[in-house]
Symmetry: C2
Subunit: 388 residues, 2 copies
């Protein structure tokens, strides 16, 4: 049996195992990134035209592309509908970008930590993943400059707004500085913003893609976090030099994104009912965030440090006494608690012990306190055992 | 700008240009492979559970996997639901298979001619595409054996039932012989059957995957030709040794297939109303096939040879006086007729002049005769010009 060389880099299924374990109904899961069931909007299908059942264009539905371009321009990303490609969830943007840029040994530049599934697909295609450390307000600029002076990455992949996993939102100053550095060194930007609309303090900063003067860029978003992930409708917007290649790669991947989901997304994007839904969603998650923060204060104040997330779906904890948090998993699951160890979010997991990603959007509030309490107990037990 | 090496193999957009030109309303198009609009069934959405809006499993909906496995067992492919992976249209099976098997220079074995988009994605990943010639009842067996004796292809890709583009359906004897050869040489089979249910003479032969005793296999199908292509719901069924890798590759490509389309497909697969719809569809396309055959007899009998397709969506013409049919395109489009030249369906187009693929399912019957007549005139004109 001869598989491709890349298959040897398919990662083991630690994450899949955690999420599978978290499916058991008795488990209190902080592991996934699921929207709350209660906040999935009721949608109507009765008016959908029969023609949505036919094959469609690889680019996506023209009216949806127009609406997405309009939305991006309002955010400060100058673009036309002709630059918009509808994709099968923004995960597909990463697949297309990997195909466009990555050969074995191609250097790419990522935040540390970064989105796990991005890391995995870039590594699958053979990328050499360089990193720049994230601070509370964005990347360390000195280290970013240093990386760019000494390497020629094919692209930099950034999640500047409520990052998964760290919840970091770049400051205005760092957005501007990063754009300047990318222009200075001529590095292509891939900017991933699934969480932008899940803001709890009302802040909305212009994307970095909209600040570039010269560099090529791909800006990607999705309706998965704000409407219905089951539709699998995301989008990318690309600088005109990249678009034709991405379009061909999209066509070869799956011809086009399902039109049923595209039609449904179009009913919402730019509408007043969407604005109202977003407002309710932010309020709902803000309450969950606050309850989670209270539970963490009670049980984790002596164990870990964290920033209160101003958006997104996650708390990112840094243990005061670092340990490999993967070693907490068995104990946590034995007590019916699931969480995501921080190590896999780094290209070199063993150099980054001591972080935990906790999702606050999906847990039943009635079980939140008990789950956090049990998780803290597991941390204490393992730390005590290691100290002994 | 440094793209990956594979991007240099992204094909030029001849086909895209033809299909774009065919969009003009005045064009009589034999170029695409679209189902007839009139035969898209009316579907109901009112009973879809809200939970279909949430993220789902990468494997696909459990009930749909069960239904697809059941359907495959009836066809003669022994399998369990655990071997079924729901994909975003069967095009995605080709993407996953390319990732699983193909490095630069990997040999794969294909029918000549073969499905254009398969050829393109295998070449995109760097495959060295070997071929075996198709005859009216399947591949030339002596040449297949010879290829297998002298090469070790990573897989063989076959469309044994109403192939796109040639409309060939393998005979019982050749199905059995091909399975025997693949077992003898230990070659993995990828069997693609989008057209199986579009049979006009009621024939239904057991898939080759169901005849294998030892070799690994991937069997792939779709609801695009029989239900609604806009759902983008296909599936693959794989031997257990391949499944875990394909699942991880699926997850990294787009997390999972849209659940809305999966739910709709499940309402049909295995149902009586689906059987009834298929029966109506076969009758409808049989009538179109017969009308097309009559028009071809009138206008092409002295120009080309062809077999009357017993299923699928295409006539495959072989000109009596071969010429590069790509040179017919400008003239045809100037007369508002679109068709698909045969050359791109071969890995070495310049060695295979003189074929044309004509779709009979989508053309308005009222314009069929005029379209065929104009196309024949273009062929005559170009042949006369070349003879002059």
């Amino acid at each position: 049996m001869a598989f491709s060389e890349r298959v040897s880099r398919l990662k083991s299924s630690l994450i899949r195992e955690i999420l599978a374990a978290a499916q058991r109904p008795q488990v209190m899961s902080f592991a996934g990134g699921l929207p709350a069931e209660a906040m999935l909007p009721k949608v109507e299908w009765a008016r959908m035209p029969v023609s949505m059942g036919q094959y469609g264009m690889s680019e996506g539905e023209p009216a949806l592309r127009e609406a997405l371009a309009q939305q991006a321009r309002v955010l400060g990303v100058p673009c036309e509908a002709s630059q918009v490609l509808v994709v099968s969830g923004s995960q597909q943007t990463l697949d297309l970008a990997a195909k466009l840029y990555i050969d074995k040994g191609t250097e790419v530049l990522l935040e540390a930590p970064t989105y796990l599934a991005a890391l995995q697909i870039f590594q699958l295609f053979g990328a050499d993943c360089l990193t720049v450390p994230l601070e509370a307000d964005g990347p360390n600029l000195a280290q970013l400059r240093s990386r760019l002076e000494t390497h020629r990455p094919a692209f930099i992949y950034l999640i500047p707004t409520f990052q998964n996993p760290s919840a970091v939102r770049y400051s205005e100053a760092k957005r501007e500085a990063v754009a300047g550095l990318l222009d200075e060194f001529g590095v292509t930007l891939i900017e991933d913003e699934p969480y932008r609309e899940l803001t709890f303090d009302g802040g909305s900063a212009k994307p970095i893609a909209g600040r570039l003067k010269k560099s090529s860029w791909i800006y990607t978003g999705t309706v998965s976090k704000t409407l219905l992930p089951g539709l699998r409708v995301g989008y990318l917007i690309a600088s005109p030099d990249l678009f034709p290649h991405l379009l061909k790669l999209k066509q070869s991947a799956d011809l086009h994104t399902n039109r049923v989901g595209q039609w449904q997304a179009l009913q919402w994007i730019g509408s007043e009912s969407y604005q109202q839904h977003l407002s309710e969603l932010r309020g709902f998650y803000r309450v969950r965030r606050d309850a989670f923060q209270a539970a963490l204060q009670t049980h984790f104040a002596d164990l870990a440090d964290w920033n209160v997330p101003q958006g997104g779906l996650f708390f990112w904890l840094t243990l005061k006494q670092p340990l490999d948090t993967r070693t907490l998993l068995d104990g946590a699951l034995a007590h019916d608690v699931a969480f995501m160890p921080g190590e896999p979010f780094f290209p070199e997991p063993d150099n980054h012990h001591g972080h935990m990603r906790l999702n606050f959007s999906h847990i039943d509030p009635a079980r939140l306190e008990e789950g956090i309490k049990r998780l803290a107990q597991v941390v204490r037990q393992v730390q005590a055992a290691q100290a002994a």
